[in-house]
Amino acid sequence: MGKPTGFLEIDRHDRSYQPVNERVGNYDEFVVALKDDELTNQASRCMDCGIPFCHNGCPVMNIIPEFNDLVYRDDYKRASEILHSTNNFPEFTGRICPAPCEASCTLNLTDHPVTIKSIECAIVDRAWAEGWLKPKKPKSRTDKAVAVVGAGPAGMACAQQLARAGHSVTLYEKNAKAGGLLRYGIPDFKMAKSLIDRRMAQLQGEGVEFKPNTAIGINKPAKALLEKFDAVVLTGGAEQPRDLAVPGRDLAGVHFAMEFLGQSNRRVSGEKYDEADILTTDMNVLVIGGGDTGSDCVGTSVRQNAKAITQIEIMPKPPEKEDKLKIWPDWPNKLRTSSSHEEGCERMWEVTAKEFISDGNGNVKSARCVKVEWTMADNGQWQMAEVAGSEFEIPCDRVFLAMGFVHPVHEGMIAELGLEKDGRGNVAGNMEDYKTSMKKVFSAGDMRRGQSLVVWAIREGRQAARSVDEYLMGSTQLPR
């Protein structure tokens, strides 16, 4: 611990954003990094807890007190080594992770957690800038070949770990480029796609063979992989969006959020796409769903100069501040305002859409909504009921359904292989060995877990790699 009394002397001070008017004109990242001396100070606030709750709060178990201390001592190189010992892609999490570590930081008891995420990001950004991060070739190679299907963060992490263990790894991706939701879901202004390319370059340098535009189970049979490879890891994500089965759902202008965001990201990066443009310029936009995807729809719509943006959420408005003593160090349900919200949007809670109304030409014109209220039943379950007479209309030319994802897409690979699924429709497998119901087939990330955070995807990818290694070699030295 750099400074035992740091937290008593120095206030929390985190990265800031460029002003709204400067940032909404483009799709660039707008987070302003902390200066070196600020980072030193912020890192010194870490108390090096006897039980670092952050370390447990972090799904990849980042060894946070250690790298905080090293940043305080200006030893970024070792900090980077420590950071990469648990996290393959800290530049991703350093940008888009909601930072459960900070929620469980002891200093969050007083709402002033250490700026762990910013410190993480600064470490890895420095590491890239200094050229410390290079492909790590295995000292010796095995004669085993592994296919990883799906080049999102889980697949990339898994592929990297396996390659470093000396296996021949082929990473299949149905899209043209790697990254999964990172690339096609998250807007560039939150994370520049060059970061993914750089990592892929590293992976390829480590021997990972990348096969884009290959949709396993569709344009290449999954069974072919089973024949060719000693093990197959399925990391295809949970891409089946939750739909809203209400009248007018099929009107033009009503889209799943990913249709809109994916296209926007392709457009920004210059990647061609076949579908018709989905734009929001000068339009009224309704975003259904109050989560991060919804938020991304808001920010993207702002950048497309939408006329007005409304975001509705069926759940009640969360409290501004959680009951700390009963929740900490767990992740609190509380009101969160994203950078996109700051950029202009009306938010409503306890509202659901009942019908989309046509303008008469098959285009959506407005959404008929209703207020709902939640009560706790005797059995302790929350129950929702519409508030009688509370119906109202929201005018909208574009509706984006951002209500989350239910499970992986079953058609294609999963169906072809006939894999067992869990009760929620995800590929069945546990977090110890990540094995599916089929011999030598493993699954990790959202495909196994259901929709979740990037950081969970990285963890599962890493851990599945360990299990695969152990399966192939009888023992493993890959870390969990």
């Binding site: 108390m47 006897g50 447990n56 080594e81 000292k139 009963k326 030295q477 870390p479």
Partner: protein, 1550 residues
């Protein structure tokens, strides 16, 4: 092995080797060797008057043994023998043996025959046998069964033995051989009871399991007027057990020993190791007949006697031998005469000290004397009368000698000897005795010629440190973790201190850990508790020494020309790489006197774990071979480790070679040095030393420092390495001192460890005679762990390519060591108690108890099988009843905040449980209900070694008074509250000064032995007769035996703490490595108490890591009545295990005094109440399932548990809980839980009468004057009376002189303890130890009797440790006081005319005036108050420990008088307000006190000074603590600012 008969054999966890004893001892002699029967009578009378120092067990007629040595009563024996038909020759030409023999006739005949055979073989003459007349009607029933037949054997000098000296030696040879013949070669039934008490031409020993008053009833000889002697040396034993052991009664053949040999295991080993190198001119071939020299399994005192006999037989005089075995502290003593120093330094190579507290009285019938250990840890007072008698005893006043006849009263001082030569007819004092011995040989010349210091060897070249990658591989091969560099090596290299941490250990013991643990982790450091004191290695550095002698030891039995053998000395045993090279190449440097051989302890890694055994055997054989080839230094080296070579653990190699060489009798022919990459933490080095390494070179730790060069805070590498070595040395001293051991030499090979989790075969083979209670792993597993580390290091594990393993022992880490307290368990417990959510609580328990999956604790491997008859839940006793058995742990206000402290108290009071003050006092406001009617008073008042805030008022407001002997997290250590935590508030409660750090000494300075503890228990019972007196112990092997002693010392309650208890701050060495799991200690305690029939009268509490209902149930089944929780209760109220208590930065306002942080305290009483309620509810469920309706039914039902059949972990295979789970067999009517009460004997106290006489006064009447006569058996006088006052008047007490006790005589121990204001005790006579202990406002005056001819200022008037922990009041002693005067005084003022060593130690307040000489180490650790010392000769500075104080002259009075209106303070009976400026006005203050001294005692010394004040003032020196002055000046500045701003701040101690 020969265990003393009478002691039961090893069973369960009970092991007779753990028995301890302490005692009362005394002698009387006629200097002119005039024999009389009266001397014997008086000798016996001494015993009777020391009765309270002995103990009585379950059987009131069975004491622990008593005995007496007298000169052979020739007249009696000659007459009796001639009646038997044989005549005795002249005295000196025959010997009499006092022999215990079996009752069985045939067996007895065989024993006698064996004896006779040896006599004949040795050419001596059997004169005859005599039955010693005894009357066994006075024996207790429990003793009669073991009563031997006592016979005397008479042996005449053979014709071939012309000299009397040779005859004595022959007797020794005969006795040894007879003993071996009978003990080793006959069936057990035969030798049971066979024992030779004495066999001598001059002395005879009468002893037995007899109450001291009955000795002359039992042995009719002693009552026979014809029995005459010029000396009588008597002993009364206080043993920790109640088993009858006739032979362990003392005296032994030459001595009585009051004390304990802490290093006895090492001493025995070293004696055995000398077999090959020992030759004796005088004994010649007879020497070979003596082996084994030491009867293993006898008591430490008996062992000591064996060694002493050998030395005397080998030609040393008694005094010379005693000086070798119990040397003074010579190493760090600049005041010692160089010749004497040379004597000691020379003998250091001959014999390692027998270290431990000791008052030894010895006699060979012609001389009688006594010596005291270097620390002076036992009392020994003597008087000389005008009719040539000397009487010495543990106490003064043991015989009623008229004061007018006494011409000298003095004491034996630390390290000093005192002897009366009856043949010369005179007293020989220490100075003369030792000077003549020091002068007798040219020791300095011998030393100069033979002693080589490593530092003086010519320079050499050490290898360069390798590159980072190589170091990393080596570190990994030796199991380094990131914590080793971050928490140990780096802090030690930068600060030179063993690092500090906080909170307890909650990781699995090594044998249950998944991690490959170092072999070091399987050993737990032993520590002193109760039967001997730990030492303070910092404040009492003068007795400590790290000097190590490497290499062959000279022949022990060659006192005359041993000057030829070279010896190699190092100042301390941690060698730099350079020093090691010097030793490696020494052959070329020092005349070929030394030849070093480096033994490689690595072997080829491809041989794997299975290869280690062969490698060890090869190593041992090679070691033996190189010694036989003439090498005399072996370096065991693991420098050869690389990818292909794996090292045998250095500890295993060291201990193995050490024991192998001992067995081969070669050990003292060679020095053992270890060159290892493995050792790095203090604990590691202690183990290497403890198992025989004389020096070590931790090359990898030193290279690690080189590798960390960028992080050394700008220090040079040399400096950083030097600091690291210093840190190791200091840490080692601390570990030694925990066991009360002062020197490296005696620690070396002493094996002061318990093994936890190593199997018996492994221990017996490599760590011979180390205690190990639960079995565990053996060589195969140790080897596997080593191989695992090695392959990790040189393998391809990606995590280890650039980094060490995380470790995770000190702080929880992913991939690190498992902890009980994790983010999950803490969060779920806190959420449960805050929400009042039982289901969440159950989740917490489930997470905690995940023992079936992963056993973290021994109890995790227990299967609760119950009685087989479950009961309905509603039949189980209520939560309320269960909660009464709960207590929270001792945490002081100071270490934790007011909020946290009171919250626990309120909660526990609501529950009907008990909270504990900890050692910080308690504010009187807490005795009144709080604003909401809540009860803030802590039911348990702790009395710890610092005695902070321990006032009469505090003690009378207690339900339980707990004496903290040791603390789980840091047993054997003191504590320190850093100055930044001592704010005004805390200072007020603790009677100290804000901003000045407070030290709690490692020992209680009034408990150096079991009888001292009995005394403190008696003292506390007097001040508050309705409170239970509790003693807190820490689990280690032998704790059960200590607990038995505690029960015999009349404690009502005993706490057994596990090693995993918490702490606010402790060296990590202690937190991690001292003490054992509570399961072991508790089981041993319960078993031993039941076996001794002592269980019923004491309540047993367990604490240290109790967390769940299951833990509590296991505790009850293993024998606990009550249960303590500290960490869990803290966590319930918000603690997050930050482990930052020592930094004052606790972010939840618990372990901090920072006001900003205190506001963040999240706890409420309800949280704690919820925790215990939930826990009790869960307990009820388990009880119902197991079939118990009450906790009482469960206690001690270890038969309701068994070891889990399915063992999940490879290391658990060898664990064996049979001994742990043994249910002791209780005879009919023997209680197995606390159901009886102790007999404290308070009805005998004089105070009962005082209270009667003072009742009206206390109730508001007029002052009263009480006349009394004291004798030494009247102990703790005035204390019960003070309790009555404190109950009624609190701290303020009564007005001055309300109760005036006017007394004559000799007061027993603890006169006036905790005397309250309004009491004056005015004694004409003298007093024993602990006068004014805890003085709380009263006044004590002691002056010589009117008829005494003594010059008061040259004679001792009060004993040791007076005014210990006094908080206010006054004392005037006209005479000299013993050692440790005013230790930890925090407010009393005292005037005395001389003090012994360590005066004013740890003092934090008050005023001490010494009108005479002081001993050494004055003012050590003194952080407050002032002392004025009359330094007539200008020698005071050399006697003063200047670490924390400065000496100042006494300023002239004119200056002082300017401060008008200040004089009145001195009228306030010692209640000197510290805001009154102690930085000035000294002359006035001093003079005022001396005037009062004269007024009260008529002191001629005082008068002389006052009469010549102007001249005398200049001879006074003021001792002023530096920090105290700084704090006072700061307070003054603050006060003046506050006044300026119109703000009132209260400061000061009142």
């Amino acid at each position: 092995m020969t265990i003393a008969c009478g002691l039961p054999p090893r069973q369960g966890l009970y092991n007779p080797e753990n028995e301890h004893d302490n005692c009362g001892v005394g002698f009387i002699c006629n200097i002119k060797n005039k024999q009389s029967h009266d001397i014997i009578k008086k000798g016996l009378q001494i015993l009777v008057n020391l009765d309270h120092r002995g103990a009585v067990g379950a059987d009131p007629l069975a004491g622990d043994g008593a005995g007496i040595i007298i000169q052979i009563p020739h007249k009696l024996l000659a007459e009796e023998c001639s009646k038997l038909g044989f005549d005795l020759p002249e005295p000196g030409d025959y010997a009499v043996g006092q022999v215990f023999l079996p009752q069985d006739n045939a067996a007895r005949a065989r024993c006698e025959k064996a004896f006779e055979t040896v006599i004949e073989r040795e050419g001596q003459v059997l004169l005859g046998w005599r039955d010693v007349p005894v009357d066994n009607s006075c024996l207790g029933e429990s003793v009669k069964a073991d009563e031997p037949v006592v016979r005397q054997i008479f042996i005449g000098r053979g014709e071939g033995t012309p000299l009397r000296g040779a005859f004595e030696r022959k007797l020794f040879v005969i006795r040894k051989q007879a003993h071996h013949a009978i003990w080793d070669e006959t069936p057990e039934d035969d030798h049971a009871n066979f024992y030779t008490c004495s066999l001598s031409t001059h002395t005879i020993v009468y002893k037995g399991m007899v109450l001291s008053g009955n000795l002359a009833v039992y042995y009719k000889d002693l009552a026979d007027e014809r029995a005459q002697s010029a000396l009588a040396l008597a002993h009364q034993r206080f043993s920790t057990n109640t088993f009858p052991s006739w032979e362990l009664a003392q005296p032994f053949r030459y001595l009585c020993h009051n004390g304990e040999i802490n290093t006895v295991r090492g001493n025995i080993n070293w004696m055995a190791a000398r077999k090959n190198s020992m030759r004796s001119e005088v004994l010649g071939k007879d020497l070979d007949k003596l082996w084994p020299l030491i009867g293993d399994g006898a008591s430490d005192s008996a062992t000591f006697d064996n060694a002493l006999e050998l030395l005397v037989a080998g030609g040393y005089s008694l005094a010379h031998a005693m000086m070798m075995m119990i040397p003074e502290a010579w190493d760090n003593n600049p005041l010692m005469d160089p010749k004497r120093r040379a004597f000691y330094e020379y003998h250091a190579a001959l014999m390692e000290p027998w270290d431990g507290p000791a008052a030894v009285c010895f006699t060979d019938g012609r001389q009688i004397g006594a010596t005291l250990d270097r620390n002076g840890l036992r009392p020994a007072r003597y008087i000389v009368t005008d009719d040539d008698h000397v009487i010495m005893g543990s106490e003064v006043g043991v015989l009623d000698i008229p004061e007018s006849k006494i011409i000298k009263k003095w004491r034996l001082q630390p390290g000093k000897m005192f002897m009366i030569d009856l043949e010369q007819g005179r007293i020989i004092d220490d100075e003369e005795l030792k000077n003549s011995l020091s002068d007798s040989k040219p020791y300095q010349k011998w030393l100069d010629a033979t002693q080589i210091r490593v530092s003086e060897l010519p320079d050499d070249v050490a290898p360069m440190s390798p590159d980072h990658e190589t170091i990393l591989d080596m570190q990994q091969a030796f199991g380094y973790t990131q914590e080793d560099t971050k928490h140990f090596i780096l802090p030690m290299a930068t600060t030179g201190q063993d690092p500090i941490g906080s909170m307890g250990r909650d990781t699995p013991i090594a044998v249950l850990s998944d991690k490959p643990k170092m072999l070091y982790d399987y050993f737990k450091q032993n520590f002193a508790q109760v039967t001997n004191p730990p030492i303070d290695p910092i404040r009492e550095e003068l007795v400590m020494s790290l000097v190590s002698l490497i290499g062959p030891r000279p022949n022990l039995l060659d006192p005359d020309h041993a000057g030829g053998q070279k010896r190699l000395e190092v100042r301390q045993p941690v060698l730099t790489n350079l020093e090691l090279e010097k030793i490696r190449h020494i052959e070329n440097h020092v005349d070929n006197a030394f030849r070093t051989y480096t033994l490689d302890i690595t072997y080829r890694a491809e041989n794997g774990a299975a290869g280690m055994e062969a490698a060890l055997e090869k190593l041992f054989a090679k070691a033996e071979q190189v010694v036989n080839e003439g090498h005399n230094i072996i370096i065991l080296s693991d420098r050869g480790v690389d990818g292909e070579h794996v090292a045998i653990p250095a500890l295993l190699a060291t201990a193995g070679v050490h024991h192998h060489l001992i067995r081969a009798g070669l050990r003292t022919d060679v020095g053992l040095v270890v060159e290892t990459g493995e050792a790095r933490r203090v604990h590691d080095f202690c183990l290497l030393a403890g198992y025989g390494a004389e020096a070590f070179n931790p090359y990898l730790a030193l290279e690690t420092i080189a590798d960390l060069e960028g992080e050394l805070d700008g220090l040079s590498l040399d400096e950083a390495q030097a600091r690291y070595i210093k840190g190791v040395s200091k840490g080692m001293l601390k570990v030694f001192s925990k066991m009360g051991i002062s020197t490296f030499q005696s620690y070396c090979g002493a094996q002061i460890f318990d093994a936890v989790g190593l199997n018996d075969d492994f221990i017996a083979r490599f760590f011979t005679k180390t205690a190990s209670q639960i079995g565990g792993i053996g060589l195969d597993e140790v080897a596997s762990e080593t191989i695992k580390r090695h392959s990790d290091a040189f393998g391809t594990n990606p995590l280890l390519q650039k980094h060490l393993e995380v470790g995770g022992e000190l702080a929880w880490r992913h991939r690190g060591e498992t902890h009980a307290w994790t983010p999950e368990t803490i969060a779920s417990l806190q959420h449960a108690v805050r929400k009042g959510d039982r289901d969440e609580y159950r989740r917490y328990e489930a997470a905690m108890n995940r023992h079936d999956k992963k056993a973290m604790y021994l109890r995790g491997l227990f299967e609760l099988k119950g009685t087989g008859k479950p009961v309905a839940l509603d039949e189980v006793e209520s939560v309320d009843k269960i909660c009464k058995r709960f207590a929270t742990g001792a945490m002081s206000f100071g270490s934790i905040s007011w909020e946290a402290h009171t919250n626990l108290a309120i909660a526990m009071n609501q529950l009907g449980g008990k909270s504990n003050t900890g050692e910080g006092g308690e504010e009187a406001v807490r005795y009144e209900p709080g604003p909401g009617g809540e009860n803030l008073r802590s039911a348990i008042k702790q009395v710890a070694s610092g005695r902070f805030g321990v006032t009469a008022e505090y003690l009378v407001n207690a339900d339980d008074i707990q004496i903290k002997m040791a603390q789980g997290a840091k047993p054997g250590e003191g504590g320190q509250l850093p100055g930044h935590k001592v704010n005004e508030w805390i200072a007020r409660v603790r009677h100290s000064t804000p901003g000045v750090g407070l030290i709690s000494p490692p020992p209680h300075h009034d408990i150096y032995s079991i009888e001292d503890l009995a005394q403190l228990i008696h003292d506390l019972k007097n001040i508050n007769p309705s409170a239970r007196i509790s003693v807190k112990l820490v689990s280690e092997v032998g704790v059960g035996t200590v607990a038995a002693g505690v029960s015999k010392a009349h404690a009502d309650h005993v706490t057994i703490s596990g090693f995993d208890g918490g702490t606010g701050a402790s060296p990590l060495t202690s937190t991690m490595h001292a003490g054992s799991p509570w399961e072991i200690g508790l089981a041993e305690t319960h078993q031993t108490l039941v076996m001794n029939r002592l269980r019923g009268r004491i309540c047993v509490q367990v604490d240290g890591g109790l967390r769940t209902a299951r833990d509590v149930v296991v505790g009850a089944l293993l024998g606990a009545d009550e249960f303590g929780f500290a960490t869990a209760a803290l966590i319930a109220q918000g603690c997050l295990m930050m482990r930052k208590c020592h930094l004052n930065t606790c972010p939840v306002g618990i372990a901090t005094q920072n006001e900003k942080l205190r506001k963040l305290f999240p706890g409420e009483p309800a949280h704690v109440v919820n925790y215990f309620t939930f826990l009790a509810e869960e307990m009820r469920k388990i009880m119902a399932e197991l079939g118990f309706r009450t906790v009482e039914e469960m206690i001690g039902r270890s038969d309701c548990m068994e070891m889990k059949p399915a063992i999940s972990h490879w290391k658990e295979q060898g664990l064996d809980f049979t001994r742990l789970l043994t249910k002791p067999v209780a005879g009919p009517g023997v209680a197995v839980f606390n159901s009886e009460t102790q007999d404290h004997g308070l009805e005998k106290a004089l105070d009962n009468d005082f209270i009667k006489q003072a009742r009206a006064t206390i109730d508001g009447g007029k002052p009263v004057r009480i006349n009394a006569k004291f004798v030494n058996v009247n102990r703790t006088i005035g204390t019960m009376l003070s309790g009555e006052i404190a109950k009624k008047y609190g701290k303020a007490g009564m007005s001055d002189d309300s109760i005036y006790i006017d007394a004559i005589g000799t007061a027993g121990q603890s006169l006036g303890a905790w005397a309250s204001p309004g009491m004056t005790i005015d004694l004409k006579g003298d007093a024993n130890d602990y006068v004014g202990k805890g003085l709380a406002g009263g006044r004590i005056i002691i002056r010589p009797a009117d008829e005494s001819p003594l010059k008061a200022e040259d004679n001792i008037i009060v004993g040791n440790t007076c005014l210990y922990g006094a908080t206010s009041g006054e004392a005037y002693f006209r005479g000299v006081a013993g050692e440790r005067f005013c230790v930890r005084n925090s407010g009393a003022s005292a005037v005395v005319e001389g003090v012994g060593d360590h005066g004013c130690e740890y003092m934090t307040g008050g005023i001490v005036v010494v009108l005479g000489d002081t001993g050494r180490n004055f003012a050590a650790g003194m952080s407050g108050g002032v002392a004025y010392v009359f330094d007539a000769n200008g020698t005071f500075e050399a006697h003063c420990n200047m670490a924390q104080v400065e000496l100042e002259p006494i300023a002239a009075e004119e200056e002082a008088m300017q401060a008008a209106g200040q004089g009145g303070d001195l009228e306030a009976h010692g209640m000197v307000d510290i805001s009154h400026d102690m930085t000035r006005y000294d002359a006035e203050r001093l003079r005022g006190l001396i005037e009062k001294h004269y007024h009260y005692t008529a002191s001629s010394r005082a008068k002389e000074i006052l009469d010549n004040w102007d001249e005398m003032r200049g001879k006074f020196v003021k001792v002023m603590p530096v920090e105290y002055r700084r704090a006072l000046l700061e307070m003054q500045a603050k006060t003046s600012v506050a006044e300026h701003e119109g703000v009132v701040t209260s400061v000061g101690g009142q």
